[in-house]
């Protein structure tokens, strides 16, 4: 196994072009586990730790351009306002040590259906900035996951950053695990209200071969909010509305039975989380509306 240590992003892209089988490694919280247990024996490891750009972020008008290696700890501490859903999801990643090393770029590279960042990215709306010596392209995050632990990257591409929409409304993230910390998701749910576009976006983790959006649930809720004038009125949502949203979210799941949970439970739990997160985000939205009016 050769260890490639590019000193710059350009060198990294050149190395990846020359050795398309090279496995990029930053925090190592996934890759090292696989290597240590001999589940994976790549020809080349491409160490991205010397590339400082990857640890930085820029807050633009529309997006946060989050460097691929920014650790979860910093997202929690410093990006809570523009990325509330991702900050909540970051809290649930592994242990403090893992959160100090692990990054969204790694979550995307591994593309595990259980990756904690995915539902938050799907709900917020994001594009993965994939780059190679051939150039840069932006991949909408919902098109990025192509199968169990497979993603849309070409063999010579690396993830430079992910451009995540700044929150324009309340966001929530929930994750079910069978202990209260350091647990891989049995299933997870992310929800973002987007009052500016009067849309709703969702993300489901660990309940299908890839992270997915519950599009039928999103469309239903957006239509219901629009038709009922809820965005303006901030009125209570009828329980039946929340229930139907939950059912549609559960219906978006395509889960399996495994050692962490049954398919039936996953579908059920996604529905419960959808209903609850809708309640929390709507309460927050209404609260803000009220505060705005008072002011």
């Amino acid at each position: 196994m050769d260890f490639l240590r590019p000193g710059s992003w350009e060198e990294a892209l050149a190395a990846k072009a020359e050795h398309p089988t090279a496995v990029p490694i930053a925090g190592g919280t996934d890759v090292m586990v696989e290597i240590n247990f001999d589940h994976r024996r790549p020809e080349y490891l491409l160490d991205l730790n010397r590339i400082g750009d990857l640890y930085e972020w820029e807050i633009g008008d529309r997006d946060v351009r989050l460097g691929a290696s920014v650790p979860y700890t910093r997202i929690m501490a410093e990006l809570r306002d523009p990325l509330p859903g991702l900050a909540l999801a970051s809290h649930t990643v592994g242990s403090p040590q893992i959160r100090n090393r692990g990054s969204v770029g790694g979550n995307l590279g591994a593309a595990s259906p259980a990756g904690d960042a995915h539902p938050a990215l799907l709900a917020a709306g994001a594009d993965v900035e994939a780059e190679s010596v051939r150039g840069t392209r932006l991949i909408p995050v919902e098109e990025f996951y192509t199968g169990v632990k497979r993603n849309a990257l070409a063999p010579d591409e690396l993830i430079r950053a992910v451009r995540i929409r700044k929150a324009d409304g309340p966001q929530q993230f929930s994750k079910v695990g069978t202990r209260n910390a350091m647990v891989i998701a049995v299933c997870a749910f992310g929800l973002a209200l987007h009052p500016q576009t009067r849309t709703v976006r969702t993300g489901i983790g660990s309940a299908a071969p890839t992270p997915v959006r519950a599009r039928a649930a999103e469309d239903f809720l957006a239509a219901a909010l629009e038709e009922g004038g809820f965005w303006e009125s901030g009125a209570d949502l009828a329980p039946s509305l929340a229930r139907q949203f939950a059912e549609l979210a559960a219906g978006a799941c395509n889960p399996i039975d495994d050692v962490r949970g049954s398919a039936r439970y996953r579908r059920h739990a996604v529905g419960v989380m959808a209903r609850r997160t809708l309640g929390w985000t709507w309460d927050a939205y209404r609260g803000r509306e009220r505060n705005t009016r008072c002011a």
Partner: protein, 862 residues
């Protein structure tokens, strides 16, 4: 690396002169010459000095209550326990020498052992649960550069089987594999990765065989036999050769009692396969010696039991297999059986090179036995006023492919099946199966855990049927001193079962809805799911549950359960120093601390050196069965007493002429001096010893026990009983099926807390392990017997965020038969914790919950 800096570093609060410590430590280091490059092991020649913890510190650790609370509950059995004037004696919370090292990551475990020129051993394991080995091709493995040896069953030099109770376990598979993960071949190479890759090149052709995985398949007509032609001592009385051992316990007349019963409740219960999940994986280093023998540095629970099994496998007399305990990272029963001990020695003797073996976490799940999963059927009958008339039960334990300690686990489950209650009519039986599932054996609670989950569920069910308070029902039937066990044994020391329940019930309940803050967002850390943010209070229901359990202490059923201790008293640099040498495995229980405390109390010296545990001294028995403080502690005490008598004889010979008290007063050793019981100082120990050393090695035994009658289970089978009660308070997210245990209060009678801080630690640890079984810990075995979750990713144990407040109420009611009146403490809290948590979840949900661990699916009907 010199051990000295580490040693001086871990005794920051020394309160006694340092004079003799460096020479003592240096002397001990020389003994480790073969492993000199090894980082220091914290249990090497510890010079332990007194470091008393302030009482208020203990009180806060222990929660609202602490030792000896309540006048009249504390009895001290002998004068010596009334507080020695030598600091750091028994009854004080002296600090553990290994504690800080472990917390800071400086403690050297067996996996840190190192020797120049050492090779690395690796084990090839079976991918099948039951298969015939048709052929083994080693050629490619041998051809791998860096490989020094490849061994299979055909290469074994002597005995090919071993076992704790029954010699049914092949050192390496002998033509058949019987469980997923069974060792088939060994490789030694100059790098662990080389060894692993070479093992992967061994070509084994298997023919898969039909498997048996439960009682039905194991005892079906024509079922494949795991061990055909059994000739062990249980073979004659078992109803089927796939049953390792069966023990009925019959007392009174259940048929007649059933006719009188006004209320009857029945239930079927199931306990999943729990793993010890010790953090330090199996590891050791075998060093071949010039005399043809071998030195083995090893993390184990019982050096001499290993020795007894290893030596015949190596074809060596026991004196050529010299074992030294290395740093042990937890045990909980999982190190009672051999793992890599014989394998490393075989490779070392074959190659003539030191061989180290370390399992990784994945392999560790295959490298040790687990807690027996169990299916239990119970029937309780009572009168309308809640008096138990009879209990009938059947406990089926899955022992897996090899016997391990299944027979003793059966004995415990059968004899403790009814719990700490007075029941005159009992018809129970317990049995362990041979199946193609992973082998099961010792784990903290040892047969009593499974029974306790079921009988406590039954007590709640009975209380509900009687519309009676579940604690009141338990108290009404609680045993007390003088009670008769279903085995006919009289409980002849305190059994404060009702009082323990009263105490946990009397504690104030933790405040409700603690997650709420006025106007602000909820504190999700106080809710089920924690920071996973699954609820802000929706669906959350509180439940409270109680349980109490009974566990035997020490080895039972007629086993000769002795310990050996060697104690030496001498002067070094003008100061008296005691040295304690035993083969006790310090696995984290705090035995080394307690031995030093005993020596200080008995010999009145400040400085005590604890020698490394090894086989140069006689057996100390197993560090299990809650027995080490009782039995090896008892041996140390008696050896100290014998040393004291010899010292006093020396003193009389030298000084009796100068003071009549030498011959006429009760004499004690205190503060480095010989004093009268009135406190008058007669001489300095240094002057009495005059450069001589007094040295005593002796064996000490507790009261003998008897075998259980194979048909009726009658017999004085146990040495001592221990009792603990729990009250669990849980918050259950009833929609998502997630549980947060908010508080798990425990009351336990410990007889006498030799080290109260350690005792509280044991109770909190056992309680937490029981919580794990209640809500998360299970090795998931597929229908074909394969293990599905051999990792800490999917075998979940409680983190600190899952661990509730554990207030501990410690009673000290002396058992006059035991040293200092103490009662073994390590296991009892593991028993009642699990059923208390499940009772609380039942209270919150109204669900019957017949299986542990409780999963979200059970709570949500999904």
């Amino acid at each position: 690396m010199s051990p000295a800096p580490a040693r001086s570093g871990f005794l920051p609060g020394t309160t006694e002169p340092h004079g003799s410590r460096p020479p003592a430590a240096a002397r001990e280091q020389d003994r480790d010459a073969p492993c000199r490059r090894t980082a220091p092991r914290a249990n090497d020649a510890l010079t332990i000095e007194s470091q008393a913890v302030a009482p208020q510190a203990l009180a806060s650790r222990a929660g609202a209550s602490h030792a000896g609370r309540g006048a009249g509950t504390v009895r001290t059995p002998t004068a010596l326990t009334q507080g020695s004037r030598t600091r750091g004696g028994i009854g004080e919370s002296t600090q553990r020498p290994d504690g800080t090292l472990k917390v800071t990551g400086d403690f050297a475990y067996a996996s840190d052992l190192w020797h120049e020129d050492m090779l690395w051993g690796f084990t090839l394991r079976s991918p099948h649960t039951h298969a015939r080995i048709l052929s083994v091709d080693l050629s490619e493995a041998y051809a791998t550069p860096g490989v020094y040896a490849v061994l299979t069953h055909d290469d074994l030099p002597a005995e090919t089987r071993y076992g704790l109770e029954i010699k049914d376990t092949p050192v390496l598979a002998d033509g058949v594999v019987r469980y997923h993960g069974e060792p088939v071949a060994l490789v030694a190479a100059d790098h662990p990765e080389t060894a692993r890759r070479a093992a992967a090149k061994i070509k084994v052709a298997y023919e898969q065989l039909p498997t048996v995985t439960d009682e039905e398949s194991a005892t079906a007509p024509g079922a494949p036999l795991l061990h055909p032609g059994r000739d062990d001592h249980h073979a004659g009385h078992v109803p089927h050769p796939n049953i390792v051992h069966r023990q009925p316990v019959r007392r009174g007349d259940v048929v007649a009692a059933r006719a009188r019963a006004e209320v009857v409740v029945t239930g079927d219960y199931e306990v999943g396969m729990q793993d010890q999940a010790f953090l330090g994986p199996e590891s050791g280093l075998a060093v071949p010696a010039e005399d043809g023998g071998v030195d083995l540095y090893i993390a184990t629970q019982w050096l001499h039991a290993d020795l007894r099994q290893i030596a015949p496998v190596l074809g060596l007399p026991e004196d050529k297999v010299r074992m030294t305990l290395s740093g042990v990272g937890g045990a909980f029963g999982g190190r009672e059986d051999l793992s890599m001990q014989a394998h490393a020695c075989l490779l070392a003797l074959r190659t003539g090179r030191p061989v180290k073996m370390v399992y990784n976490r994945f392999e560790s799940f295959f490298g040790h036995v687990h807690r027996h999963p169990a299916k239990l059927h119970y029937e309780h009958g009572a009168t309308r006023d809640g008096t138990l008339l009879y209990v009938s039960c059947r406990i089926v334990l899955d022992g897996g492919a090899y016997a391990s300690s299944s027979p003793a686990v059966v004995g415990n489950a059968a004899s403790l099946a009814v719990g700490p209650y007075v029941v005159d009519n009992v018809d129970s039986e317990a049995l362990a199966l041979y199946t193609n599932n992973p082998p099961c054996g010792a784990m903290r609670g040892f047969g009593a855990v499974q029974a306790c989950f079921a009988y406590e569920a039954q007590m709640d069910k009975l209380a509900a049927a009687l519309e009676m308070d579940p604690v009141e029902l338990r108290q009404r039937n609680a045993m007390a001193q003088g009670a008769v066990m279903p085995t006919g044994q009289i409980v002849d020391s305190p059994a404060p079962v009702a009082e323990l329940l009263r105490r946990v019930k009397a504690l104030p309940l933790p405040p409700e809805r603690e997650w709420e803050s006025a106007g602000g967002p909820p504190d999700v850390r106080a809710l089920p799911g924690g920071l996973s943010n699954t609820t802000h209070g929706e669906g959350v229901v509180r439940g409270v549950g109680y349980a109490v359990g009974i566990k035997n202490v020490g080895f039972s059923e007629g086993f000769d359960d002795y310990s050996t201790a060697r104690v030496r008293l001498e002067t070094v640099g003008g100061q008296p120093v005691a040295t304690v040498h035993t083969a006790m495995a310090e696995v984290g229980q705090g035995g080394v601390t307690v031995h030093a405390q005993i020596a200080r109390t008995e010999l009145g010296v400040a400085q005590v050196t604890i020698r490394p545990a090894d086989t140069r001294v006689g057996s100390a028995g197993s560090t299990s069965a809650s027995r080490q403080t009782y039995v090896t502690g008892g041996a140390v005490r008696h050896a100290c007493e014998a040393v004291r008598e010899k010292v006093l004889e020396l003193g009389r010979a030298r000084f009796a002429a100068y003071h009549p008290a030498w011959n006429h007063a009760e004499l004690l050793l205190e503060g480095g001096k010989v004093v009268t019981d009135a406190g008058e100082v007669l001489a300095d120990l240094a002057d009495v010893l005059e450069g001589e050393a007094v040295d005593v090695e002796l064996e000490w035994r507790h009261r003998p026990t008897e075998a259980f009658d194979p048909r009726t289970g009658q017999g004085n089978g146990h040495v001592q009983y221990s009792f603990a009660a729990h009250r669990a308070v849980v918050e259950v997210d009833t929609e998502l099926g997630l549980v947060k245990v908010v508080e798990l209060a425990c009351a336990q009678d410990v007889g006498k807390a030799l080290n109260p801080l350690s005792v509280v630690g044991q109770i909190q640890g056992g309680t937490t392990q029981g919580l794990g079984l209640a809500v998360m810990e299970e090795i998931v075995v597929a229908a074909d017997g394969r293990v599905r979750n051999p990792s800490f990713t999917d075998y979940l144990i409680p983190t600190i965020l899952d661990t509730p407040a554990i207030p501990v109420d410690m009673l000290e009611l002396a058992d006059d038969h035991a040293p200092y009146g103490l009662r073994g403490v390590g296991e009892a809290p593991t028993l009642s914790s699990t059923p208390a948590v499940v009772a609380a979840i039942r209270a919150a949900t109204g669900l019957p919950l017949k299986r542990v661990p409780v999963r979200p699916e059970h709570l949500t009907g999904t």
